[in-house]
């Protein structure tokens, strides 16, 4: 009836959850990692861009199993098509490129394969993994541990553990179970849509198109997607438009300065998602509970990028828990103790994310559209500048 107790139960096997699991298991903790899906990463809700160092920092091999295409820089466009190009193949030719001893700046990954790869590495490190298993709730117990209630292939199972890790993404329910303030403001959640397309040329750069005309409250993008494909997408803030993202994407493809470039494009796949351009959660822990990744809103509020922050945050959470279970306070997993995770996270990553949030907020508080457009273009260009203080986020 009741299976073996674990040190950790992790709900959600995305990059964040699988990274917590992998590091924890490598350190000898017993870990159960569950995901309600039958196929990780699907349906894809992400463009898949991630920097190389984000992968290397958490010890993930740069494996062709999940890499779709290497990236060497950025191109930031204003709304009429003027561009700031930041191509590391030109800026630092001895370091970046596709030749021998040269490396890419980052990659566009296939999230189905990437998420599975992350789970595989966790599983090989000793994590027990259950698919088709959803979380129903959790109950902190008097002995300092907690029960996690799961449903696996329609069977209800209760598993006992020391700490539950909520890694259940933007739709996170785990934080709500603990009564945490997880609500995202409508002004800070971008409704995003992207098409994987054939017959659109790319040149190894992440292209970011700013301007209220194309993506009110967000930006549009054209990313290389491997095998000669590209992805064209955008995110919009609902309070800044009365049209859905799909309408804006159609307009961007047919009417923007890229309309000639896009005219033969053929849609191969349709993907969408919500991307929080918000601050991290103020409280990312509770009794016997920590939140990681999108569930903790560990998303870069300027770019909407969340893979790097999920991986890094996952590692920080695992390291905190490993240390905690080895400390004299090991049996105390109350909120007061779990706060240590958030403190570590703020120091390593979070304070920077808060700063980015304030930068982003200043842009979108500009009421005048041309002023805001110019400000966003400048902010994006500065952010991706090689001398930016933020290149690590």
């Amino acid at each position: 009836m009741n299976p073996t107790p674990y040190d950790l139960v992790i709900i959600g096997s995305g990059p964040a959850g699988a990274t917590v699991g992998r590091f924890a298991a490598e350190a000898g903790l017993s870990v159960l990692l569950v995901d309600k899906k039958q196929e990780l990463g699907a349906p894809i809700q992400c463009s898949g861009a991630v920097s190389r160092h984000a992968l290397e920092d958490v010890g993930l091999a740069l494996d062709e199993e999940y890499i779709l295409e290497p990236i060497y820089g950025f191109a930031i466009y204003d709304q009429v098509g003027n561009a700031t190009k930041i191509d590391y193949r030109k800026l630092k030719a001895d370091e970046y490129g596709d030749g021998p001893d040269r490396k890419p700046l980052g990659y566009v990954v296939d999230r189905r394969r990437f998420d599975r790869y992350c789970m595989t590495q966790a599983e090989r490190a000793g994590v027990e993994t259950w698919l088709k298993t959803e979380g129903l709730g959790y109950t902190p117990k008097a002995d300092g541990r907690c029960d996690v209630h799961l449903r696996r292939f329609n069977e209800e199972i209760t598993v006992n553990c020391k700490v539950l890790v909520g890694a259940d993404g933007l739709m996170s329910q785990v934080g709500k179970w603990a009564g945490l303030q997880t609500h995202i403001k409508i002004t800070e959640l971008a409704g995003c849509l992207q098409f994987i397309v054939d017959k659109v040329e790319t040149e190894g750069l992440l292209e970011i198109i700013t301007g209220h005309e194309w993506a009110p409250g967000g930006y549009a993008w054209v990313f290389p997607k491997g095998h000669g494909y590209a992805e064209i997408g955008l995110g919009v803030i609902p309070t800044m438009t009365d049209k859905p993202a799909r309408w804006h994407l159609d307009k961007f493809i047919k009417q923007s300065f890229f309309k000639e470039r896009f005219k033969d494009s053929r849609i191969l796949e349709i993907q969408g998602g919500g991307v929080p351009l918000a601050a991290p959660l103020r409280t990312q822990y509770a009794d016997n509970l920590v939140l990681v990744g999108d569930a903790a809103r560990h998303v870069n509020p300027i770019t909407g990028g969340g893979i790097h922050t999920a991986l890094s945050g996952g590692k920080i959470a695992a390291e905190f828990l490993i240390d905690h279970f080895a400390s004299p306070n090991a049996t105390d997993c109350s909120a007061a103790m779990m706060k240590g995770y958030q403190d570590n996270w703020l120091e390593e990553l979070g304070d920077k994310m808060w700063k980015l949030y304030h930068t982003k907020t200043k842009v979108f508080h500009q009421e005048d559209i041309p002023t805001r457009d110019a400000y966003l273009y400048q902010t994006m260009s500065d952010y991706f500048d090689p001398n930016s203080e933020y290149k690590k986020v």
Binding site: K176, I184, L189, P244, A245, G273
Partner: protein, 74 residues
């Protein structure tokens, strides 16, 4: 402002891309979700903020006024 009337959401499944944005923006308590990872469609929503309708990238969420006044069988 008058109290909003409870609504029952309807999803045009043909257009739904399972992106989860509606659940992400939903201020309801945990579990107001359909088996297809959208906001719940089998019980009334008494908040009726309609944020899910405005975030939907493919504009496929609508609602009707709920007959019952917020009570549900669940």
């Amino acid at each position: 402002m008058s109290k909003p009337q409870p609504v029952l959401f309807q999803i045009g499944w043909n257009a739904c891309i399972n992106c989860g944005a509606c659940v992400a923006i939903c201020p309801q308590e945990a579990g107001f979700i359909s088996p297809f990872d959208t906001i719940a469609v089998d019980r009334p929503c008494d908040i009726a903020c309609l944020l899910c309708e405005s975030i939907c990238p493919v504009d496929t969420i609508t609602h009707v006024l709920s007959q019952q006044s917020g009570s549900s069988e669940f």
